[in-house]
Amino acid sequence: MTDIQYFHDLYTDFERVIASSPTSSRRRSRARWGVAVAAVAVAAAGGIIFGVSSLTDSGQPQVGAGTGSPPSTGPSSPPAQNPPGTTGLGFPGVSPLAFSHRVTLAQATATTPFAIPVPNAPAANRASLSGVFVPNRQPTTRRDVVTLVYAGSKITIGVTSQSGVWADPTKQLRVLVTKKGVPAADIIQLPSGPALMTPSFIRAFVSGSVVTITSRGSASRHELLEVAASLAVPSSPGQSTPTAFSPVNGVVRVDGGAPHPDRSGEPPLRDARIVITGTTASGVTLVRRLTADGEGRFAAKLPSGRYTVTALAYGPASRPLDTQPQAVVTVTGRPVRLRLTSHLV
């Protein structure tokens, strides 16, 4: 089944409409929905829902399938259990986020291949966390969603996957606003970077995850901003921060050319075009192009991941090179130095 965040969110919208329209269910399922609506009304007194999705496709651990089933693997914390026939919020057979089931935060963190930012604000914090939901689908992918419920359903945070690494997030957000025609959108600055704010949601980018915070009615704009500003990924073993950038410096030289007067016998390949392709630790495909300087030097900052660096160039006087020198580098948070050497035909 296709997992599209838009339709998860739409489903929760319908649930909210149903929960807030007691008269509409008068004629049908009166007793059953009466209980459900009452339960949600009580739960919604001060609740917050969070959803988190990933940026990564690689190395996904599996999560348990089926409504109400906890994952079969996970840390030592006890598995979450839903009441029989429910998914935790009082809706019979319907989870707060469709196609999801309930787990603990520790389980979600351990079984999700992407960072799960959590808030630490008065309106939403660890103490008020009352439920965590992950998708039923196995195995999880970077498009999957984790939903955190804070004492009801006051705020929903949906997170969509970021399709690439943004060199200039503010510019990308401007493009998004223009292209998608988001009504009344503002670009705001959070500690995590630029974010999009509209009357109905805030979309923030935290450690490779895209987090969309939506008010369910009773949260003020100030509360939403506080929640968004407090989002952070708790440090946990084995979970890297996908957006940590490291410097990668290199030089391109030519073997077989005239000896360089100042240095070794390999003159620099000036103005070489450098293409870096690869996959970040969070599974995002990255392509970056840059040009070496007059000394054949180039520098880039790359997120953790594995990349192939290729010099596309002609030799002096446009003589073709017999190879396009390549190097495979693994970036793990430390500076990397490269030397690419090509040979004249």
Partner: protein, 190 residues
């Protein structure tokens, strides 16, 4: 007589049945739209509005007249027809329900785009174009592909602007009918 045998009311669609319908059919309905409008954002909006309209009109659903899915597709066809007429997706039902505007992410759009079988579409379009009369085919190509005005098309055909417009219109209608016979000429919700 009417007091003894009152007109029976339709049973309607329960909220639970509506949510079940959504869970079981959203993807299929999204596919229905995206294969007709070829734009992920519009297909998602049409799907959302169709479900919202079905929710608003759920009291009118009569199970004696058919399945809920068939009833919903009736609404979907009308939404599609309205979109093709106005090139605007209504959000009246969603506004009525006070549902927030949703934005399709790039990854969502990519996934929806993946639901379009462009090869099949291309073959279907070729076949449908062959079904047109030569004049209609040329008029459609001039208008849709070359982007000519009706005045320019009329000059090329040596006919009136009215005739040129009629040829394009008939050609497009026939293409729509050939490629999506289940949506052509449908009027009125069940």
């Amino acid at each position: 007589v009417s007091s003894r045998f009152p007109k029976s009311r339709p049973a309607g669609l329960t909220h639970e049945a509506f949510l079940t319908l959504y869970r079981e059919r959203w993807e299929e309905l999204l596919g229905f739209f995206v294969r007709r409008v070829f734009a992920p954002e519009i297909a998602a909006d049409l799907t959302a509005e169709t479900f919202a309209k079905a929710f608003v009109k759920s009291d009118q659903f009569d199970h004696r007249r058919g399945e809920a899915a068939a009833w919903m597709y009736g609404i979907a066809r009308n939404e599609l027809a309205a979109y093709l007429r106005t090139l605007t997706v209504e959000r009246r039902a969603r506004d009525q329900l006070r549902m927030p505007a949703r934005v399709l992410s790039e990854s969502d759009a990519d996934q929806i785009e993946g639901m379009i079988d462009f090869d099949q579409l291309g073959r279907g379009l070729q076949a449908a174009m062959r079904d047109l009369t030569p004049d209609q085919r040329e008029a459609v190509v001039h208008r849709v592909i070359d982007g000519l005005s009706y005045q320019e098309i009329a000059e090329r055909f040596g006919c009136s602007q009215h005739t040129a417009r009629a040829r394009v219109s008939r050609g497009l209608r026939r293409l729509a009918h050939t490629m999506a016979p289940d949506t052509a000429g449908q009027q009125g919700e069940p």
